[in-house]
């Protein structure tokens, strides 16, 4: 049923990417994804690919493992490519029935495919190399400036980390409740989707009741341990930038400059021969 749920997809090993500060990795991924959407130009994509390959090598995650991460988006990928390949207007290359393959179509679907693959790989790389705890931690740091707009940054981060903590407990509880209901003759397996959904009601209601009871207990335990909001809190493991992070930021800036340079100027200097 609901066994072995892993939150996030942290791949435990020791590598340069793993040791980077989680903040660096979030900024890195963010800038990288941004860079994919600004220009449509083969040179830019070549640089982006190179950057991603270096990242993957530094992460010590097996290539096959990374490629497998593309599985959930295969359908989306195929759909995008097909639609763009056959239904983009422009200079006709081949045509049959209602389908026309154009040069623009080929170019566009190639770009989109590259964009999607790079995007998924880059974001997977971040979650594979960073534990969920560190990610929530880093988000709290990075979102701090939002405090001036009265965004409850600390509270949001605390909620995220408590949610992560309680997912395995609630999964356990769901299993227990389901077993208890099965023992009383409940049937979760047969029937169509509507019947199956309905049969989950006797699981969901006790689960909610117990979740609220737990929330109440937890709140009391937090209060008992002097929790008083984010004000004046210190940390066991404060995030600290190391030399590797500075190097990573410098490389990121070089990358960004390179991309902008290529996107703005190079394209005009070396027109792509088609």
């Amino acid at each position: 049923m609901l066994r072995d749920i892993t939150i996030g997809q942290y791949y435990q090993t020791d590598s340069v990417m793993h040791r980077l500060d989680p903040r660096t990795k979030i900024v890195l991924t963010f800038v990288y994804i941004l860079s994919l959407f600004v220009f449509e130009n083969p040179a830019v994509y070549a640089v982006a690919a190179l950057f991603l390959i270096i990242e993957i090598i530094l992460s010590a995650i097996p290539l096959l493992y990374m490629v497998r991460g593309l599985k959930p988006v295969v359908f989306l990928l195929a759909f995008t490519v097909v639609v763009n390949l056959f239904f983009t207007g422009g200079q006709e290359l081949v045509s049959f029935w209602i389908f026309r393959i154009t040069i623009e179509g080929i170019k566009r679907s190639a770009y989109l495919m590259g964009r999607l693959i790079f995007l998924v790989l880059a974001s997977n790389l971040m979650t594979l190399t960073t534990a969920p705890v560190s990610l929530t931690n880093a988000l709290e740091y990075l979102m701090k400036p939002l405090k001036i707009f009265r965004v409850p940054v600390h509270e949001v981060a605390m909620m995220m980390s408590i949610a992560l903590r309680f997912i395995p407990i609630l999964v356990d509880e769901t299993n227990k409740i389901m077993k208890a209901q099965i023992a009383r003759g409940a049937d979760f397996e047969s029937g169509n989707i509507i019947k199956k959904t309905k049969s989950l009601i006797p699981v969901i209601i006790p689960l909610f009741v117990s979740a609220f009871r737990r929330a109440n207990n937890l709140a009391q335990a937090m209060e008992a341990r002097c929790y008083n909001g984010g004000e004046g809190r210190t940390r066991l493991n404060p995030l600290k930038y190391r030399r590797a992070d500075i190097v990573a930021y410098v490389l990121l800036v070089i990358y960004a400059v390179l991309i902008v340079f290529m996107g703005c100027f190079l394209f005009r200097v070396i027109p792509i021969a088609v």
Binding site: P132, V133, S161, I162, L164, R165, P168, I169, R214, N217, L218, Q220, A221, M222, E223, A224, R225, C226, Y227, N228, G232, R233, T234, R235, L236, N237, P238
Partner: protein
């Protein structure tokens, strides 16, 4: 100065029916006065609904008395400015280990209290590992709490509380959801902290076996203190305890029954060993 001083504490709450109308008033704690000296190991015994947990929550300033006053290390819990001081002086351990572990990693959970108190990072690290050492869990610092047994989780909870350097810890039925092995671990830890770290312990429980080694025992019934004294004094009053729906330890009960049957055995036997030596003494005297 007593570390915990309850002065005529009464706590009432309003019962409501399903529509939210007032149904009546329940007096959970009814005029309880007791003093605990620093370094003592106190046990509060009581059946379900005797008000013992409600009383415990007053000491940690989670509940406030309707009447009377609670002083922790000289601080009145009604004083809002002292709230954090009171909570870090008198740490609280709850029944369900899963519902009081906040961190996703053991060391982060133990750090939660000191983090709230604004302790510097270096000092937190030291406190975390000192506390884990004190409960014998230091090699689990980087584990996920989900992978621990009930007894281990509860010991982490104890470490989390002692990381705040409390003078007193209140344990609210810490063994109720734990297997016998884990129960033994928790009690041993509590007694060791009491002897070695000189931390005052207030143990709330309904298991009589757990109070045998306490310095003083209070038995609660219907919100009032029904009996108080040393474990030996309390356990010599077997029939009164049974009236309060409490089960006495097996050795005590056997001694009590022997006495009722006319055997001139002494009162206040708590353990199997004591019972054996008392019987041996009687037997050799009879020969």
């Amino acid at each position: 100065m007593p570390i915990v001083d309850l002065k005529n504490v009464t706590f009432e709450y309003i019962r409501r029916d399903n529509e939210g109308n007032v149904d009546g008033i329940t007096t959970a704690v009814d005029g309880v006065s007791l003093k605990v000296s620093p370094g003592e190991f106190i046990a509060v015994l009581g059946a379900n609904g005797s008000g013992k947990s409600t009383l415990a929550k007053h000491i940690n300033a989670l509940l406030f008395p309707t009447e009377g006053a609670v002083f922790v290390d000289g601080m009145n819990t009604a004083d809002e400015d002292k709230l954090l001081d009171i909570r870090s002086t008198a740490g609280m351990i709850f029944q369900n280990p899963d519902d009081q572990i906040i961190g996703q990693i053991v060391e982060e959970d133990v750090a939660f209290g000191p983090e709230n108190l604004g302790v510097p990072s270096e000092e937190i690290r030291k406190r975390v590992y000192d506390s884990l050492d004190a409960v014998g869990m230091s090699e689990y610092g980087l584990r996920s709490p989900d992978r621990l047994s009930g007894g281990q989780k509860q010991r982490v909870s104890i470490a989390s509380v002692i990381a705040m350097k409390p003078k007193c810890i209140i344990m609210d039925e810490p063994t109720a959801m734990i297997d016998p092995e884990g129960r033994r671990e928790i009690l041993e830890t509590a007694h060791r902290l009491n002897k070695e770290e000189k931390i005052t312990v207030i143990l709330i429980t309904h298991y009589m076996e757990e109070v045998v080694d306490a310095d003083r025992v209070f038995v609660m019934d219907k919100g009032k203190v029904a009996m108080s004294g040393t474990p030996a004094e309390i356990f010599s009053r077997v029939s009164e305890l049974q009236e309060l729906r409490l089960t006495v330890p097996q050795a005590t009960e056997l001694a009590h029954r022997l006495k009722m049957a006319g055997v001139p055995i002494r009162d206040g036997i708590l353990t199997g060993d004591e019972l054996v030596s008392a019987i041996m003494k009687l037997w050799s005297a009879a020969r």
